[in-house]
Structures are given as C-alpha cells and as structure tokens.
C-alpha cells in the first residue's frame, strides 16, 4: 500500500488563498505517522484530501499508483478508513450498530453472527464491549471517540486516517490508543496517519512526524528525534520550550507562550 500526494493544494469554496498548497508526501511503509502543527494550519484539510472528502484544487493523490480522481468513494473506502474528529448522531443507534456501519457486510439486510463477533472484537480492543447495546448519544465524548475508532478498525483498512483520535480521551487512554495504533501498524501492516496535538505522545510513539506550518505547507518529515527540536517547536508554536531525551525519544517541556 502506498499513498502519494503530489503538489496537492486545496482551497474552500469562495476563498482566495489555498488552505494547503505544494503538499508532497509519500507514505509507502506501514507505520504510525503523526501530523503536528498549530491550529488552523490545514491538518484536517490535508488528511481529508487523501480519501476524497476534499477534492484537491491542484495536484493529485495516488493510492497504489491510481489517481483518486479516477476512483469512486467506494473504491477509496476499500483502502482507507477514516475516523473524524467528533461524531454525534441525530438518531442514537446502539453502539454495536454504529460500529457495524463500518463493516462492509452491513450493506446486507441481515447482520450475521460473524459481523457481531467482529464488532465485539474491536469493542474489546478499545475496552467498550460493555457499552455494546447502549445508545450512542448516551456516551461521553471519550466513549464516542472510541466508537469512532472501532468503526474505523472494523473497516479493515490498509490505511487508517484519524483526526485527533485522542482529543477527548483521559491520559491513560491517550497512551493506550496511541500504543494500540502503533501496534496495529507494526503487526498488521497498516499505515496509520493521525493528527495529534500532544507532542510528547507523538514523539514517544510515532515512527515519523509530519510537521505542518503556516501557510499550510509541510515543513518537515522525519523520525521524532530529528524533527522534535527546541528550535522547531518554539518557531512553530511561538512558545518557549525545552526538549530533553527520554529513552532515546525527545520529550518536550513547555514554557510560557510568547504571544497570542
């Protein structure tokens, strides 16, 4: 599985300047890739360009060499799973049904035993099997997030894209989910691409870090120890910081913000 972005730019309807531009990125090895960068820099816009949620206004995206413009959403969905930042359903399904939407067999009339077994398995991975029959809207934000991750996993994608999957999770689960995603990448050959605002979690678990900076460009890609430097972090976020090493991985100690 390879994903290649060539000179990708995207601008929203009616906006003069593009949100992201000149994006070149190749992901051809399984691994956990973390995108970091300040708010509004175009991280979510970028990941949505990969699976056609956004149609690039310039450049192209190739999945295994195929231009996504030639692929239907259905074909893209066969390779790429997507976990959005927050989800809330108008009509509250039981958790298990919400997860099964990700399983392709859901398009059939009947939900089979093997569908249910599969759903149970992903729920167990996230530790939410007790919530199986609970209404989706009765859950907390963190639990929503876990359901969304389950829905992404049950798609069995070759590439999993997650928009801030740890945003609403407690510290234990932030670490747990990130470890889990790394484990998946390594054992199942999945390319996991996630947006993260926690630099230390990203630095500790990511194989590679993708840094986005204004005005919507990728400024650096590489392993955490090369990317996470005091200079880069303080420039990127306009904040004082110290970077130390913890078991060979960089660790960011934040100072105070310089300006707003």
């Amino acid at each position: 599985m390879t994903v290649e972005l060539q000179d990708v730019a995207f601008s929203y309807h009616g906006m003069d300047s593009p949100v992201i531009s000149g994006i070149n990125l190749t992901l051809d090895r399984p691994g956990l890739y973390c995108i970091v960068g300040p708010n509004g820099v175009g991280k979510s816009t970028l990941i949505k360009c990969i699976n056609k949620l956004n149609k690039p206004t310039a450049g192209r995206v190739l999945i295994n060499g195929w231009d996504t413009r030639e692929l239907s959403l259905k074909e893209v969905a066969r390779y790429i799973g997507y976990v959005p930042v927050t989800t809330f359903d108008v009509f509250s399904m039981p958790v298990i049904d919400a997860i099964l939407l990700g399983a392709k067999s859901e398009s059939k009339w009947r939900t089979t035993d093997s569908d249910l077994e599969m759903a149970t398995r992903v729920m167990k991975m996230l530790g939410i099997e007790d919530l199986a029959m609970r209404g989706f809207n009765q859950l907390s934000a963190g639990q929503h997030q876990k359901v969304a991750i389950c829905r992404g996993l049950i798609q069995k994608p070759k590439m999993l894209i997650l928009d801030e999957p740890t945003a609403n999770l407690d510290v234990k689960h932030q670490v747990y989910v990130t470890e889990l995603l790394r484990g998946l990448a390594e054992t199942s050959g999945v390319i996991v691409l996630m947006i993260s605002h926690d630099l230390n979690v990203a630095a500790k678990y990511a194989h590679e870090i993708i840094v986005m900076s204004p005005p919507g460009v990728i400024s650096k890609v590489g392993p955490p120890e090369e990317v996470i430097t005091e200079e880069l972090i303080s420039d990127l976020y306009d904040i004082e910081c110290k970077v130390t090493l913890d078991e060979g991985r960089p660790h960011v100690v934040l100072g105070s913000a310089r300006s707003i």
Binding site: S92, M93, S107, Y176, G183, S188
Partner: protein, 388 residues
Amino acid sequence: MSEEGIPDDPLIKDVVRKSLGIWGAPAEDNRDDTTNSIVDKYKKYVHRKWVFIVVCIVATVAVLLLALTVGDYPLTVGRCYEIILQQITGYQFPQGRESLEASIIFDIRLPRVYLGILAGIGLAAAGVAMQSTLMNPLADPYTTGVSSGASFGATIGIVLGISIFGVPAQYTTVINAFVFSLIPMLVIIVLSKLRNGSPTTMIMAGIAIMYIFNAFTTLISLMAEPEKLQQLYRWTVGSLAMAGPSDVVVMAVFVIPGVIALQFLTSKLNILSTGDDTAKSLGVDADRMRRIILLIVALIAAAVVSFTGLIGFVGLVAPHIVRIFVGPDNRFLLPASAAFGALLLVVADLIGRVIIAPAQLEVGVVTAFMGGPLFLWLIVRKNSKVWG
C-alpha cells in the same frame, strides 16, 4: 506476522494479538462469554423489531376487516368475509341485494381502506427517509415543499379551473397537485447541484419555495367563491373519501415501488445519517444519495398528496413513535413505520367515520387528534433517548 515492535505492555500485546484476527490471521478468542452475551442481546433486540412489525401488520388487517362492516349499509364481518371469498372464487353476484353489497365492499369501502393503507405506508416510509437523509428530526415528506406545490396546483384547479395538460375536470385537482408538488423538489435538486447540497441548505431552500407557493395560493384563495373555498379547504385537510378504485391503482404504482426502492437504500440511509464525512469515508456519495432519496420521496409524497390532500402528522410522527420501539436502524425502522403508518391512518379513518356518524370527520383531523396525545404520552412515558 511478527510481534516485533509491539510495546512491552502485556495488555497492549494481548489486544494487538487478538486484533490480528481482524486483518485475516486467525483470532485467538472466537466465541467467549462476552461475545455470546452480546450476540444474544443483539438477537433479542432484532427479534423485538420483528414482533413490532408483525403486530402492526396483523392489526392493520384486523382493522381493515372491521372497517368494511362500518357504514350506512349494515354488513356483518361474516357477510363481508363471505362476499370477499365469493369474489375470489369467481362467483357471479346476482342483481339486487347481493350485487349491491358486493359493490359497497369493492367499489366504496375497500378502495377507501386501501387508500388509507397506501397513504400511511407512503407517508411514514417517506418520513423516515427524510429524517435520516436530512439528519433532522423535524423533517417530514413535505419538508422539501411538496405540500405547498400540491396546494398551489389544487388551488388553481379548484378556484381558477385551470387544468394543465387539459385533462378532464374530475382529474384536474389530482394532476395539478401532482405536477406542481414535484416542482419544489426539482428546484432543490438543481440548487444542490449548483451549490453545496448540505441538508441545511436543502431544508432552507424548501422553506423558501414553500413561502413563495403559499403566497400565490393565498392570493388566489382570496378571490375564490365561498363554495370553491370550502372544496379547497376539504382538500387541504386531507381525506380518504375523494378517491375511487382506479385511483388506488395509480397511487399504488408510485407508492409501492417507491417504498421498495427506499427499503433497498436503508443501509445507505443508516450511513448517511451519521454525517457527510463519515458517509463518504465509508464509500457513500452523500450528495448523490441525498438527491436520489429526495426524488423517490417526492414521487411518493406527490402521489399520496394528489389523491388524499394534505394528511399531515403521519409522516412526521409515525417514524418517531416507531423509533421508540424499534430504534433508529433504518433497515427495520422503515418497514416498521410503513406498517404503523398504515395502521394509524386506517384506524383514524375508521374513527372519523363512526365518531360523529352519519357525518364524517376527515382523516387528517383524526390522526392529529389521536396521534398528538399518543406521541406526548410516549415522550413522557418512554423518556426516550433516541433523538439525542
């Protein structure tokens, strides 16, 4: 597959190893107690949905038989049953009493019940589709302006005597209502193709078109003669008394294939109701799917409205009532609502026919009188969380 690189944490190691089953390698725990319990609970949950559907269908058939006996001309259940059986076996009814009774059943009472069933099925199923498609609990089959278009069509037919396509006078209202009811939907579909087709845009466009049509309708009604105004008003309230046997066939041609088509799209509807991004990431082209569903709904609603007038309430509330019992999975919600909608309309029409006999109360009024309190009671009693 190697375990190299799995973090040392035994919990993670265990979880990842189990997860390998998902990507094709054999899973460690196929059916443990937790899985069995979830599978059991889920099956019971599905079973309850089937029970609800079957109960609604059985009740509708029972009410149908009862409805045949009610009217100015007294007929017992047994006699009705006998006549239907005779008709099926090809019995020639002799002139006189028997032929009159057969005619009462097959030309008057049965078409009316069939019309109620078809209208109930169509409106409730269309309501489910609209609420899920537009992700809005207040959506109903008329949200895209179907009713305002139909009212305008009926008004120019009844008040001004304008008949498009020059059809004979008795069909004017039906054809006018049908044609004009499709206009708002076509405008919305064109708009959503030109600009973005988000649910909110569609609802707002529907409201805008509704106001435009309503303004014209009001303007024309202002100059109507009193008797025509009364005729128009009767149409607006919604009634099953207006249609005959051939109308039932025409309505069925639109409603039955339409509802079947929606049923085939229910799993896509489920995905659509989770939002556009999730839907697209699961391979469903949300904008295109919404237009297709809107078109089907508009055809169903137009067919129902043209023959029965504006029967409100069923399309909005039947799906909500059924959601309390069946849950929001459209694969079950749609047929269950269709069955419940049919039952609701047939019962309402029956009550309307007997409650102030020999006069009749229009079905649109009765559904609202009956359904309103029922719905309120369910909201309080069930304290349901299905609406979020």
